[in-house]
């Protein structure tokens, strides 16, 4: 049979004699079945109009018209380049990040470009891009802050432990050392921590200590306790409580015979130091002495 006769057969190009001879071969029936079966096959669905809409939104809008520069335009283009460089320089200076810090024994309120409010607790640093806010809606946080985000505005709080993404809400982020606690008071936030993404509705908190033991807790109050006159602790190590005391009163603290890993649950005043020290020492069977800007905290049975 002639060259490529199968292709010619499918295309109806065989002569009657050739076709007759082909029909008599034992393979013919199989070929016929493949040919007819395959013509009833279909590829995956393709929605032409949807694809057209996608392409139209992806293609550049200029229509590919090329405008050639006139020789006289040349000096203009040089001038444009100079202006561009000046603009770039101005832009660069403007995009430098703004940094706000609340020192020990201080609070600091920050109003972000979108009118969101942030209250920084003592010993906290917040960095954000002041003039580039529209493109870079994110802040960097080290310490503890309470966020009241303007409605409909989304942005991200980056910390050393993980990211918190926000959509019109009130929430508190604490990141100090290996402790990372996010509490949501209103709306919804998303916490991204070590590859895990957790959505946190109002009234719940997410807590990480020492990189382990993710724990979900409930939040009962309307705002974090520290924004008022006191700070509440729920099962926090004594070391953390003492550090927080230090930050709130800017005092040096010395401990003697105190188990710093013991857990403390309670509330300490942020305005009355003696009251705060009583709140810490009494339930833990500790005593304290204050001298100048130093506090000595010691176990009752210690020498």
């Amino acid at each position: 049979m002639k060259e490529n006769y199968l292709a010619k057969w499918l295309n109806g190009e065989l002569s009657d004699a050739e076709l007759k001879a082909f029909r008599e071969t034992p393979e013919f029936k199989a070929y016929e079945r493949i040919a007819s079966f395959s013509s009833r096959l279909e590829g995956p669905g393709f929605d032409t109009e949807a694809a057209l809409a996608r392409v139209k939104s992806a293609r550049p809008g200029t229509g590919g018209k090329v405008v050639r520069l006139q020789p006289a335009m040349r000096w203009l283009s040089i001038a444009a380049a100079v202006i561009l460089m000046l603009a770039a320089g101005y832009y660069y200076v403007n995009t430098l990040d703004a940094s706000v810090e609340a020192a020990y024994a201080q609070r600091q309120e920050v109003r972000l470009p979108d009118a969101s409010e942030v209250l920084l607790n003592a010993g906290t640093e917040l960095t954000y891009s002041k003039n580039n806010w529209d493109r870079e809606r994110h802040v960097r946080l080290s310490g503890e802050a309470f966020f009241k985000v303007a409605k409909g505005k989304t942005f991200t709080v980056e910390t050393a432990s993980g990211d918190v993404t926000v959509l019109g809400t009130q929430f508190n982020v604490l990141q100090r050392g290996d402790v990372f606690i996010v509490s949501c008071y209103e709306g919804l936030v998303r916490v991204d921590h070590q590859g895990q993404s957790i959505e946190l509705p109002a009234g719940s908190a997410y807590r990480v200590e020492g990189g382990a033991a993710l724990k979900s807790e409930t939040v009962e109050s309307e705002v974090p306790s520290w924004t008022g006159g006191e700070t509440a602790f729920r099962s926090m190590p004594m070391s953390f409580v003492i550090d927080e005391f230090r930050r709130q009163y800017n005092m040096e603290v010395e401990t003697r015979g105190v188990d710093l890993s013991r857990r403390y649950t309670g509330t300490i005043s942020n305005t009355n130091m003696n009251l705060a020290l009583q709140s810490i020492s009494a339930p833990m069977q500790l005593k304290y002495e204050v001298e100048g800007n130093k506090v000595l905290l010691y176990a009752e049975n210690a020498p």
Binding site: N4, L6, R40, A51, R59
Partner: protein
């Protein structure tokens, strides 16, 4: 004068050729995502060059772009195809017949996937899309004779594979 930069003309060209480009790349690699990307790439490029490409040349232009997109050989996946039932008396088919049809379809799909990519593409463009050998030759940028050879070889290999020779 018809100009590809005209949105109307451009849309018509898209409607006429995008599905072929899509199927062409799908038959090649068995990957829908790549096929969608190829359509996107080819027609965005066409838009970018619309001032230089006449409507008559547009089809060849998009084929060439799609063809060049995956020059680096990517491993083809199994081509999955749907089977259109012949209209009319389907309901009278016995379960045995339907089962056998299904088995045949699976055998054919496996055999198709075993074909060299250029034979599979040619065969399916002809069988499914009803493209003539001349049209496929233009799409692939080879002679009609070369397409006939691929077609012949494809059918031969499919038959041998299905009959277990």
């Amino acid at each position: 004068m018809d100009n590809v930069c005209d949105d109307q003309v451009y849309s018509e060209i898209f409607r006429a050729h995008s599905k072929t480009i899509f199927n062409y790349i799908y038959y090649k690699f068995g990957n829908e995502e790549k096929a969608h990307d190829a359509v996107q790439e080819a027609f965005v490029k066409l838009w970018e060059h619309c001032a230089k490409v006449t409507p008559e040349k547009a089809r060849a232009f998009v084929s060439t772009v799609a063809n060049n997109l995956y020059l680096n050989v990517i491993k083809a996946e199994k081509v999955r195809l749907k089977h259109r039932e012949p209209g009319g008396n389907v309901t009278r088919e016995s379960p045995e017949f339907l089962l056998e049809e299904q088995e045949f379809k699976e055998k054919l799909e496996t055999a198709l996937s075993a074909l060299p990519e250029n034979q599979r593409t040619t065969f399916l463009l002809n069988r499914i899309d009803g493209k003539t050998y001349a049209q496929i030759a233009e799409l692939e940028g080879v002679s009609v004779k070369a397409i006939e050879k691929r077609m012949h070889q494809a059918l031969k290999s499919l038959r041998e594979d299905i009959d277990g020779i």
